[in-house]
């Protein structure tokens, strides 16, 4: 695959990534948000594969494979299981109205692109919109974490944010060293497991979600 085509495909994938992020933010049911984040991880894996094909970097194939296996399949499956086990209301419970979140989304996207224009000097292995898309995804993931009450949706935000970091890394350096990537992914898995255990334990012992933790104040 020649670099020009790759750049184009990465650009298109960036648009789809943003779209999946919008779906995550706008989703009114947790299950739908989980599907969207799985789709997003799938897109990241495809982007990694495309980049690997374009640059001949063999580590990227591995990373794409790991992403596909863990983030697009394993973690969504875990989240679904937790969702079933918890047997809670399946609606997302936003902290601020969804319309307000969408407004903030617009502002973040515009700011990310604006920032990109002023960061012009940063060398990009992949030209086009990959860098601002990555920044926007990272920030939007944090936004999801900040505006949702439930631990599950916060985990979705965490994954999305991590996807954003991954995409940024790919766009700037054509992939970080393999070991760092694997480390990051392990980190995320660990976070997911800890949170899962925590949520289930908290739920089974005191029957409360983390939204209710503010009641612990003395």
């Amino acid at each position: 695959m020649n670099p020009a085509t790759a750049a184009r495909v990465i650009d298109d994938l960036g648009a789809l990534l943003l779209l999946s992020m919008i779906v995550i933010i706008a989703a009114s049911q947790i299950a739908r948000a989980i599907y969207a984040v799985a789709a997003q991880s799938l897109l990241i894996a495809i982007a990694g594969a495309v980049l690997a094909a374009a640059t001949g970097n063999r580590d990227l194939w591995v990373i794409a494979g790991i992403t596909l296996a863990i983030k697009a399949m394993l973690l969504p499956w875990v989240l679904h299981r937790v969702l079933r086990q918890m047997n809670v209301r399946r609606e997302v419970e936003p902290v601020i109205p969804n319309t307000a979140t969408l407004t903030i989304t617009v502002i973040i996207v515009v700011m990310a692109f604006h920032l990109n224009a002023s960061l012009g000097s940063v060398r990009q292995s992949i030209t086009g919109n990959a860098l601002p898309v990555g920044i926007a995804l990272t920030l939007l993931g944090v936004l999801v974490m900040a505006t949702r009450r439930k631990a599950l949706t916060q985990m979705v935000g965490l994954f999305a944010s991590e996807n954003g970091i991954f995409f940024t890394a790919m766009s700037v350096t054509a992939g970080m060293p393999l070991i760092i990537e694997i480390g990051v992914i392990l980190d995320v898995i660990l976070a997911a497991l800890v949170m899962t255990v925590m949520v289930l334990r908290v739920r089974s012992t005191v029957d409360a979600d983390i939204a209710d933790l503010d009641r612990l104040r003395g």
Binding site: V110, F113, H114, A117
Partner: protein, 690 residues
């Protein structure tokens, strides 16, 4: 020629002094003549070519200022707008005053006629002023005359309060104008505009910007731009309806004239563009006014107040065009057309708004003169009782909602094209901002349509809700004639806008020193509107309202023909009348949708902007299941009013409280304060003079 027109206005006001019923007719007749002459003069200047210029020195009133009138393309264009609406209003006026208040005292009628003439004369004076002195005199006269008209129909003190607010606000604005004009005068050493133009070249950028924003603030107050609009929805409805039409349709435009004259002519640096920030401020203010104006209009149930809020909206739309013109003027490469396009859109919307808003106010006046009710919840079913008024009002409603094939659509289309052109020539967040403004304009159009479905539907359709509405009859012919004149303009400028564009040549070419409007917009002949070239150099959008209107007309005729054939082939098929289905109950007017109910979904969706308040009191009939009476009261607050003005009010009263604590109540003490203040002022100026 200007003198003749002007004299007619003045003479008519003299005649009006002879009190009596006759005076009404005579005074309005003279005003009509003044309007007709104004149209002739304006058309003469506009069609004579871009360099046609009329000047006329006036008798010296003040020893320090040489006064003159001067009419160039821009002046003539606004003169045309004033004169056309004046013609319609003066045909309509006498009949309206007689129908609305048949037992008004002759003195009041004469005063109203006098004030109307002074009002018209002053507006003409402002637009044709050749120096700052004449301009400000006309400006002040315009304010005073319209104040007199606002308070002239006082019944319960409401109008007096509206008038007071109007005076306070506009005088605040005039003070800003005064500072701006006097500073320029001081630099130029003379009052006339020619000297000012010469002097403004030497201004440093910061002074220039200060002067612009002072003048912009002053004109914006008069134009009713949000958040300076609070006087407008109170004062406009209070005046007699034909005066409301003039105030909303024309007086606000005089402020637009001032803005254009000041920014593009008096203050413009030679050969260099205006600062980008000016354009952005005007564009932002315009877009905000447009959206908020129509949102507040949606929640009004007073027919005239609703129309007044729509003036805020339309001024916003005009300012969007003006803002884009400011941004791109002299910033494009050779052959650039965006500035011309934007200014054309703004100026065309000026005349269009004058026509359809005038028409709507006259239509509302027709309703009010027959029913004496302004609240549309108490109207309904008027389309069967006043069919002509209803038809003309509907025409105005379609025009103001920016729907084809009428004139409102044409000017909004041009504004959209200017925004598109602007966006494709900018990059980065600026381009995104312009597209966002376009989206806001689309939102405004959609909301305006919703608002006029409500206004027309609740007022004219369904069943009458009160006996007043049930008793209404069609208004006299002169009133219909006044409305028809404006309606004809709405249709003509909608279906064949190319001929109206021809009138815009002189103002656009004169103001921008670039290509005229018709060179850009009607390059393919008067039947087709086009927008110059794209950045790629290919021909941009072309559209023809004329062909489209013809197509629609043919389709309507075809469909009617098909219907006729169908009925011929099956003569047994019947048409019968039956009551509306109301779930088996007796159909009454209470089944009709109310204005409050119609606007409720939008009230809830935009609740953060409205902060709606509602109180429902239930009166039970002994058991909790049977309701004897239900009282609903809802209110929507004006964001600017509650947040901006109440804040200022709190600040002022706090300061006042502090001062009161310090004050002694002894009169010589206050005189001492005055002395001290004078001393400090003299000292300050003395230091500066050295």
């Amino acid at each position: 020629m200007v003198a003749v027109c002007y004299a007619a206005g003045a003479l008519s006001s003299m005649v009006a002094w002879r009190s009596g019923r006759l005076a009404l007719g005579v005074a309005h007749g003279w005003a009509f003549l003044g309007g007709t002459l104004g149209v002739i003069v304006a058309l003469g200047v506009l069609l004579a070519g871009p360099d046609c210029y009329l000047t006329l020195p006036l008798a010296t009133l003040f020893p320090f200022a040489r006064q003159s009138l001067s009419v160039d393309g821009l002046s003539a264009y606004f003169l045309l707008v004033i004169s056309v609406v004046a013609m319609a209003a003066t045909i309509y006026g006498p009949a309206y005053l007689r129908t609305h208040a048949p037992d008004a005292s002759p003195a009041r009628q004469a005063t109203q006629a006098l004030a109307l003439n002074v009002f018209l004369a002053c507006m003409v004076l402002v637009c044709s002023a050749g120096d700052a002195m004449t301009f400000l005199l006309g400006w002040e006269g315009m304010t005073l005359a319209s104040y007199a008209l606002v308070v002239s129909e006082d019944v319960d003190g409401e109008n007096a309060r509206a008038g007071l607010l109007y005076m306070v606000m506009t005088h605040g604005g005039t003070a800003l104008l005064l500072v701006a004009f006097l500073t320029l005068t001081e630099r130029a050493g003379a009052f006339d505009f020619v000297a000012m133009r010469g002097a403004s070249g030497a201004l440093d950028p910061s002074t220039r910007a200060t002067l612009f924003f002072l003048a912009f603030g002053g004109f914006a107050t008069k134009a009713g731009v949000i958040p300076l609009h609070v006087w407008l929805p109170r004062a406009h409805p209070a005046a007699p309806s034909h005066v409301s039409a003039l105030m909303s349709g024309v007086m606000l435009k005089v402020a637009i004239y001032g803005m254009l004259r000041f920014a593009f002519d008096l203050l413009a640096p030679s050969q260099s563009p205006l600062p980008m920030s000016w354009g952005w401020v005007v564009l932002t203010v315009g877009a905000t006014s447009a959206v908020l104006g129509v949102l507040y209009a949606l929640q009004q149930h007073d027919l005239k107040r609703l129309l007044a809020f729509h003036s805020v909206e339309n001024i916003g739309i005009i300012l969007i065009g003006v803002g884009v013109a400011m941004m791109f003027w002299r910033r494009e490469s050779a052959g650039g057309t965006v500035a011309t396009l934007a200014l054309t859109a703004a100026l065309l919307h000026t005349v269009n708004h004058a026509a359809f808003k005038g028409l709507l106010f006259l239509g509302a006046g027709a309703v009010i003169s027959r029913t004496h009710v302004r609240n549309m919840e108490a109207l309904g079913g008027l389309a069967r009782r006043m069919p002509w008024t209803a038809g003309l009002f509907l025409l105005g409603a379609v025009a103001i909602s920016a729907l084809p094939p009428l004139n409102g659509f044409v000017s909004e289309w041009l504004t959209f094209q200017a925004l598109l052109g602007g966006a494709s020539r900018l990059s980065g967040p600026a381009a995104l901002g312009i597209v966002f403004a376009a989206a806001m304009l689309a939102l405004t159009g959609g909301l305006a349509a919703a608002c006029f479905v409500k206004a027309f539907g609740v007022t004219f359709l369904g069943r009458p809700r009160t006996p007043e509405a049930a008793r209404a009859t069609e208004v006299p012919v002169p009133m219909l004639a006044g409305m028809t004149l404006l309606a004809a303009i709405c249709v003509a400028f909608g279906v064949a806008p190319g001929y109206a564009i021809r009138l815009l040549d002189a103002p656009t070419a004169g103001l921008l020193h670039g290509p005229g409007a018709s060179a850009v917009v009607t390059a393919h002949g008067p039947l087709v509107l086009s927008t110059g070239l794209t950045p790629l150099g290919t021909p941009a959008t072309a559209m023809s309202m004329t062909f489209m209107a013809t197509l629609i007309g043919l389709l309507v005729m075809g469909l009617v023909g098909v219907g006729w054939v169908l009925r011929l082939r099956a003569p047994a098929v019947t048409r019968r009348l039956a009551p509306t289905w109301t779930c088996g109950m007796e159909p009454t007017a209470r089944f009709d949708y109310t204005a409050t109910g119609f606007a409720k979904p939008l009230r809830l969706i935009f609740a953060p902007l409205y902060r709606p308040r509602r109180e429902v009191t239930r009166e039970m009939a002994g058991t909790p299941y049977v309701l004897r009476r239900l009282h609903y009261e809802g209110e929507v607050v004006d964001f600017a009013e509650t947040h901006v003005y109440h804040g200022i009010q709190h600040g002022v009263s706090n300061v006042a409280r502090i001062i009161r604590a310090r004050s002694t109540g002894r009169i010589y003490g206050y005189i001492g304060f005055v002395l001290g203040a004078l001393f400090v002022a003299l000292l300050a100026f003395g230091v500066r003079a050295q």
